[in-house]
């Protein structure tokens, strides 16, 4: 790891382990550079969400070092941290049926003085295809609409900063493919314009292959691979999920992967 890299990276994990209940996860070691798009893949229960909790500072490392923007992650004051990294959650529920405008504005609640709040809320809503939902109550929205509002909230949170970190926890799994596509596009655009890095937990291998430039593999609570997407091969994926995969290539040269019918013999 060169000196120059150390100065510019957003986040670095150095042999970080973490415990959740009886299990220990890790060690995790990787570096996230500004503007990177990283997908985290792995079977269910492998520890993907635990990794995300660690990065979100919901869990404290047992050992190793987590550095966020030149400062140990644990030393960040929560309000300061909230201006540099945002998390798009898996569940969208909000208590009491708050109005949509307020929910989006909550992304910026840690800022004491925020004169441009109203205009940022509107722009964030537009970018998340949620402008038409302003003025409605959150609890009257459909699942897809709730996802859009939560996304707008995260956009508002990181609207006027650069080179932040956006953590995404499988937020779109329950949505239809068209909506998934347009929302992922919105996230890419938002992040690219500001140099934010994205780290997303994904179940959809194809989405990861198509939209992300780097893939981190997690299995049995540990990191088992960190690849640039072009280097990922079918056998690597088969080993990660313990299934037979079949691949096809589209007219545009994109690889599409699907589980094959015969099960792979467990190694």
């Amino acid at each position: 790891m060169s000196h120059a890299q150390q100065d510019t990276h957003i986040l670095s994990l150095d042999r970080v382990t973490v415990t959740l209940g009886q299990r220990t996860f890790g060690p995790f070691s990787f570096v996230i550079q500004p503007g990177e798009r990283i997908a985290v893949l792995g079977p269910s229960g492998a520890g993907k969400s635990t990794l995300l909790k660690l990065l979100a500072r919901e869990l404290v490392p047992l050992s190793g070092q987590a550095i966020f923007c030149q400062q140990p992650l644990k030393d960040w004051a929560l309000p300061d941290l909230s201006r540099r990294r945002a998390i798009l959650p898996q569940s969208h529920e909000v208590a009491f049926g708050l109005p949509v405008d307020l929910v989006i504005g909550l992304g910026r609640v840690a800022r004491m003085h925020d004169p441009s709040l109203a205009s940022i809320v509107r722009q964030a809503a537009e970018q998340a295809c949620a402008a038409h939902l302003l003025g409605r109550r959150f609890d009257t929205l459909s699942g897809g609409e709730k996802a859009r509002v939560q996304m707008a909230r995260v956009f508002a949170q990181l609207w006027d900063v650069e080179q932040g970190l956006l953590l995404v926890d499988e937020p779109l799994a329950a949505l239809d493919p068209g909506l998934q596509f347009s929302l992922m596009e919105a996230i890419y655009t938002f992040a690219a314009n500001r140099g934010h890095a994205i780290l997303a937990i994904l179940h959809d291998i194809n989405q990861a292959l198509q939209g992300f430039e780097r893939l981190i593999f997690i299995k049995h609570g540990a990191m088992v691979g960190d690849y640039h997407t072009p280097h990922v091969t079918l056998p690597l994926l088969e080993a990660l999920y313990n299934v037979n995969l079949a691949a096809a290539v589209t007219e545009d040269g994109e690889m599409i992967v699907a589980p094959s019918l015969k099960r792979k013999a467990v190694a």
Binding site: A56, E58, A86, P89, F96, L98, P99, L102, L106, R153
Partner: protein
């Protein structure tokens, strides 16, 4: 004819205008309630009594005496206690992201009542000779300590159980409630006739003790609470996202929780200490406000105080005047007046929504 039509349209415009500005509307209702409460009562009060009140050189008439020493402090006290209960209810519901939560559910109220019951039975039963000047303070202080004690215990135990989990806190509150109820039951069983009498005063709830010093103390407490809450309401909105997401947007959930809990303990402890157990307002006042203006804590908190003040003031005035010269326990009317109104509001909102 045309003037009457003009007057009607002006009135209806005024009414719609006011309904669109709930804060002004509720202030107006509260002032109206004060007006009625100050005039209504067992002792007839005339305009002349009011005039005497403002003059130094004239001796107080009996009407003016009642106004100054009994009715005005009690009326203000009722409104302030109602505001304190409404505020603590709004804070608790916001903290637990649960519209059913109120200080009663958390065990704060019963903790205060439990401490009072223990003081009555154990301390008085121990035969200790307490100086008369102390007797006046010892029960309120005990109730206050009980509320604060429950809150601190709640915070500690809940943190041991499940870090930062609000469900754990709620469960702890329910357990503490059961414990307090058991201790109060035990006290009632062990109490002598005389002690049982003191316990009854406590559990019935009464605003009869309202006096200027109490009004002054409670005003100060409420002003401090408002100043303090004002800086927390934005953060309380973020709690609606869930604890994890609130932390993600920069809210220190544990600090916020502790602050809110201590505030609720102060407000509830004070009201239980001086008025006994007055239920229902903490639950219903924030609910009514939520139905009118929605769940935004920044509007909910001040309006819940106003609505709490109105409910308790109306209930207490009713309790004072329906059975003159007798008085009916105020707790009966908080529920009797509040519940139907609440149900009506609930159904009308469901229909229109």
């Amino acid at each position: 004819m045309s003037t009457s039509i003009g007057a009607i349209s002006l009135t209806s415009r005024l009414t719609t205008g006011l309904l669109n500005r709930p804060v002004w509307f509720l202030w107006l209702v509260l002032l109206l309630c004060f007006w009625v409460a100050a005039w209504a009562g067992a002792v007839p009060v005339t305009a002349d009594d009011w005039r005497v009140l403002w003059r130094q050189d004239e001796p107080l008439t009996s009407g003016a005496y009642v106004l100054w020493h009994l009715r005005l402090p009690r009326t203000l006290f009722a409104a302030l206690v109602g505001a304190a209960l409404g505020l603590s209810g709004a804070l608790t519901q916001g903290l637990f992201r649960n519209p059913l939560a109120d200080p009663g559910l958390l065990g704060v109220t019963s903790g205060a009542a439990c401490a009072a019951a223990l003081t009555i039975v154990v301390l008085a039963g121990s035969g200790m000779d307490i100086p008369v000047a102390w007797r006046f303070w010892i029960l309120p202080l005990a109730a206050f300590a009980g509320a604060v004690g429950v809150c601190l215990l709640l915070d500690t135990v809940a943190r041991w159980l499940t870090a930062d989990s609000i469900a754990g806190l709620l469960l702890t509150g329910i357990a503490l409630n059961a414990l307090a109820a058991a201790i109060i039951g035990l006290c009632t069983y062990l109490a002598t006739d005389e002690q049982l009498r003191s316990l009854t005063f406590w559990t019935l709830g009464s605003l009869a003790g309202g006096s200027w010093p109490l009004v002054a103390v409670l005003s100060l407490l409420l002003l401090t609470a408002i100043w303090y809450v004002w800086r927390l309401v934005g953060a309380m909105n973020a709690l609606a996202l869930g604890e994890a997401a609130a932390a993600h947007v920069g809210i220190h959930v544990r600090h916020l929780r502790r602050r809110v809990i201590i505030l609720v303990a102060l407000l509830c402890g004070f009201s239980v200490a001086w008025c006994g157990v007055i239920g229902f307002i903490g639950l219903v006042a924030p609910h009514i406000v939520r139905l009118i203006v929605g769940p935004d804590q920044r509007r909910l908190v001040p309006l819940a105080m106003l609505v709490g003040a109105i409910i308790l003031l109306v209930a207490d005035t009713t309790a004072r005047i329906v059975a003159i010269p007798a008085e009916i326990p105020v707790g009966i009317f908080t529920a009797l007046l509040g519940a139907p109104f609440f149900l009506a509001l609930l159904t009308s909102v469901r229909k229109s929504g």
